[in-house]
Symmetry: C2
Subunit: 215 residues, 2 copies
DNA sequence: GGAACTATCGCATATATATGCGAATAGGAG
DNA sequence: CTCCTATTCGCATATATATGCGATAGTTCC
């Protein structure tokens, strides 16, 4: 038998919080290291009593679960805690924000006890458990932001370097200096890039480059 | 008892394919409607004998699983098939491509039979099952492409409209005409936007707008 | 050897952008 | 009533970009 995983619960709903707590303490694999009904209290205590995993409600009053996650992940002492967000909704932008804030998992509150316990094990193993309904939203987000690469679009080495410069906001002059080619040569490559991307302005090229992941 | 879910298998490894097949046929909930060892054969047959779900190996010889998925999803007859990608690797760009091609789920081949069967049920329920190890990669991708919105950056209505125009590649003149304001007014808004985004060129503004999801 | 292709550079010019320095009107908060 | 913000507009000017129409040198292919 190994050491139990220390799990903290941040949830303002008393009933749900206690449910999670007893779920954890019922299993020998886990140990509820603390339970909090607000993000502020959690932040204060968690910096000294550091758990392995946090089950974090997203809809906390005052300090939101996302804010709370962000602060935990940006403090050195608590940066390694694996945060699993629990939510009743499936808002894709909230998911994105949670991911950016540093959460490692995202589960619906309706998930079964087994799933929640599995999820805790998975974040400890470097995985990111996500309820399928949530994952569907994430898929939708990715489809919005990116497009499948077009086989007709194939930039060579120099063109790729130049468009990277464009995306970084460098002027033609700066791009030329960076790669030791003349401004006029940069212009030539940009012509080719515009031709390939079917655009005729720098900003359109930049948008397409990002969408098609050419940079 | 309801009608079994019809599942096709596209997998070049005979052993694994037959394993999936018997897994499916063993359960009354599922029915293996066909099994294929190549994408081309699958494409040819699947357009007439249409399953509910496809378990698709990603590493097929010749026509890749992603190519195959793309073609299935772009043909009207087969567009509604839910494709679950099976893979041994966890390459994040492959995941992204699969998502863009129209896959609904993404599982490691090492997943347990129960997980695979659950996944089939989930895609039928509008979910996108994803192995946690894969989801972790997807999380990483999203972190690369986006940043948490900066609270200091808050564009008002007009500014938002203007930056949308910038991202769309419109000229100042076109933006002005679109919103019935003068070019000089557009300039004024752009000044404010640049100030707020801390940039001083159109392309930098466009990149930041995308990264911070201002558009 | 010539055709085709790539990588490099030059010059001219018409637009587009970036920015400095204004200003007027209207509405909301204190 | 005053301060602040949002919204609108104008003019001048220095750069930056977009694009047309070239050129030269080196490679590869046949």
């Amino acid at each position: 038998m190994s050491i139990p995983i220390r799990v903290a619960v941040v949830e303002d709903n008393k009933l749900f919080r206690e449910g999670l707590q007893s779920l954890l303490n019922f299993s020998p694999d886990f140990e509820c290291s603390g339970d909090f009904d607000s993000g502020a209290v959690a932040l204060a205590t968690l910096s000294t009593d550091i758990p392995d995993v946090i089950l974090m409600d997203i809809d906390l009053p005052e300090l939101s679960g996302i804010e709370c996650t962000m602060q935990l992940k940006s403090a050195a002492a608590t940066a390694n805690i694996q945060v699993i967000i629990l939510t009743v909704l499936e808002d894709e932008y909230k998911v994105l924000e949670a991911i950016l804030a540093g959460a490692s998992g995202y589960l619906l509150k309706s998930s079964s006890p087994e799933l929640i316990m599995d999820a805790i094990r998975q974040v400890c193993n470097g995985g990111s458990p996500m309820s399928p309904a949530i994952a569907r939203k994430v898929f939708g987000l990715m489809k919005l932001g990116y497009s499948l690469p077009d086989n007709k679009i194939r930039l060579n080495k120099r063109e790729t370097e130049v468009i990277e410069g464009l995306v970084q906001g460098l002027t033609y002059k700066m791009i030329g200096e960076k790669y030791f080619i003349s401004v006029d040569t940069v212009r030539t490559y940009i012509r080719n890039i515009y031709e390939k991307l079917q655009v005729n302005s720098r900003s359109e090229a930049v948008v397409k480059a990002i969408k098609y992941r050419l940079v």
